[in-house]
Symmetry: C2
Subunit: 282 residues, 2 copies
C-alpha cells in the first residue's frame, strides 16, 4: 500500500509520542522532531508506511540510545494478555472450537495497540470486541484451503496480540504452523522474545522474518523466511503494518486485522474499526 499524505502528520505525531516515552529531555525531543521532519520531506523515497516508520524510529533509537522504547509497554500488554488467556480458552470452548471465532479472537487481539489494555475492565472490553463480527470474512476460501494445507504461516504483529494468536493456532487443525516475527524491536511489535513469552513456542515454530520494520517488507526479509512465505499453503498476515507492506502481494494470503486507520479502512473499503479477514489470492 502506498504512503498517503495522511500518513505524514500521523507519523510525525507518533514520532513525538514515542520520543516522549524514552526521554524527558525537550531538546532531544525537538531534535527528533527536526530529523523526523527532514525524513518526511523525502517520504517518496520510502516504499511503504512501515519502511518510513522504521526510519523515523531509527532516529529515536540513534538520538536516545534506547533500542527498545516500548519494552515496558510490551511487558504490560503481555501480562494482561496472558491473564486473559484462560478467559479466551473458555470463550473458544463455548464456541466449540469454531474456526470463525478463533479467527475473530486473533483479530480482536489486534486491538492491543489501540490501548485496550489501559482500560480498567479489560475483560469486559475484550468481550465486547469479540462479539463484533467481521465486515469482510473470506472464511469459505480459508476453510477450503485448510482441507488440503500441509503448513500455515502466521505473520505476527503486536506483543500481547500474540496470546490471542496462540488461541487461533490451538483451534486450527493439526498442521505445522510457523509464526514469523520482526527481527528487532520496533514499536510494540513482537520479536522472538515476546513470541516465546506468549507461549507461541508450544504451538508453532517461531522464526524471525529478518525484517525490522513494523510490517513485513518481503524484499528485506531473510532467505529462510522468504522460502517459507513462498511455500506456505496458507499465510495469515496479522495487523495493519503487515497489510501495508503486503497488500500488493497475492497468493495464499489472508489479512486478519482491525482497520484502525482511516486510510487502511478506505483501502479495504470498510468502515473505520471494522474487523477484516480478507483473502488476497490470485
Amino acid at each position: 500500500m502506498e504512503i498517503t499524505l495522511d500518513c505524514i502528520p500521523c507519523m510525525l505525531k507518533q514520532a513525538l509520542e514515542s520520543s516522549r516515552m524514552v526521554t524527558n529531555d525537550i531538546d532531544k525531543q525537538e531534535k527528533i522532531m527536526e530529523e523526523a521532519l527532514s525524513v518526511l520531506l523525502n517520504f517518496k523515497l520510502y516504499r511503504n508506511s512501515p519502511d518510513l516508520a522504521r526510519k523515523i524510529h531509527q532516529i529515536i533509537k540513534n538520538l536516545t540510545g534506547v533500542a527498545d522504547s516500548y519494552y515496558e509497554i510490551k511487558r504490560r500488554d503481555l501480562k494482561a494478555a496472558n491473564e486473559l488467556y484462560p478467559f479466551l480458552k473458555e470463550f473458544m470452548k463455548k464456541q466449540e472450537g469454531n474456526i470463525y471465532w478463533a479467527l475473530k479472537t486473533a483479530a480482536t487481539g489486534n486491538n492491543i495497540d489501540a490501548a485496550i489494555y489501559q482500560t480498567i475492565d479489560v475483560k469486559n472490553c475484550v468481550e465486547r470486541e469479540l462479539e463484533k463480527e467481521f465486515s469482510i470474512c473470506d472464511l469459505n476460501i480459508f476453510e477450503q484451503k485448510l482441507k488440503t494445507a500441509s503448513n500455515i504461516l502466521i505473520i505476527g504483529d503486536n506483543t500481547g496480540e500474540t496470546v490471542f494468536d496462540k488461541i487461533l493456532i490451538e483451534n486450527l487443525p493439526e498442521i505445522p504452523v510457523v509464526y514469523g516475527v520482526r527481527s528487532a524491536p520496533i514499536l510494540n511489535d513482537t520479536t522472538e522474545k515476546e513470541a516465546y513469552e506468549s507461549g507461541l513456542g508450544e504451538v508453532s515454530t517461531i522464526i524471525s522474518t529478518g525484517c525490522n520494520a513494523p510490517g513485513t517488507i518481503l524484499e528485506d526479509c531473510n532467505e529462510k523466511f522468504i522460502d517459507i512465505f513462498n511455500e506456505a499453503d496458507i499465510i495469515i498476515s496479522k495487523g495493519q503494518g503487515n497489510f501495508e507492506a503486503l497488500s500488493e502481494r497475492q497468493g495464499n494470503l489472508f489479512f486478519l486485522l482491525k482497520a484502525k486507520c482511516p486510510m487502511i479502512a478506505n483501502k479495504l473499503n470498510v468502515n473505520l474499526n471494522d474487523y477484516v479477514f480478507k483473502y488476497n489470492g490470485d
Copy 2:
C-alpha cells in the same frame, strides 16, 4: 504562548485538510505538504502558533491561487449563526440580559470551528453548550472594570462566532465598542466583510487589526489598532488564536474562549473543552 512540539503535527494535518478544501490535484497537495514540512523544520523562526499558521496558509494561497479558501465554509457558518440569532436573543431574554450569560453566549460561539454547524440539530447542540458553565470566570473583575470603562475593544475570531459576539455587545452597558478583525482572509476567521455580514456594524465600530495571522500579533498590527488596544479600558480577546498571540500581554485584557486544544487547555490549567473567561491583568 510559545509553539509546542505538539503544534507541528497538528499544523501539518491542518495544512493537508486546508489544501484538500481548495484543490483536488494530488500533486499540488503533495507540493503543499512538502513546503509545509520545510517551513515546520524551521518552526523556531516563528514567534507563536498564529505566526507559523499564517506562513503555512500562505503556501496554500501561493500554490493554488485561492486567497480565501474558507469562503464557502464562512458563508455556511454565517448563515447558520444568523438563523440562530433570534434563538440567542430569546435565550438572553430569559436570562434577563445577565452579563454572565452574555459572555457565555459569546464563548459558545467559539465552538464554530469545532464544526458545531455540521451537526443536524444545531440549536440543540448550541443549547447544550450554552448550559455548560465557565471553568475559569473572572466576572467580578470584569464587572468592576465595566463600572468605569468608557470603551471596550473586542478582538474577533471565527466567522459565525461574530453573531454570538453581537449578542454580547447588545447586553453590555451602552459604551462604545470597537470590534477588531483580521486584515485579510485566513482560515475561517472573520474579516471586515464577515463582521458586517454578522450585523456587528449596528452595534460596534468594526476595524481591521492590520494583522493577517489567525491570531492578533500586536507587532504586526497597524498603528490605529495598537492605539485602540493601548487605550482600551476593557479588551475581550476571543478564541484560541488570539490567546496564543496575546497570552503574554497584560493589562485590561480578558480571554474568552473554549479550550479546544490540549496545549492551550494545559497552558490555562483547565480541562480540554472547558470554557474560560480569564483576566490577564497586571
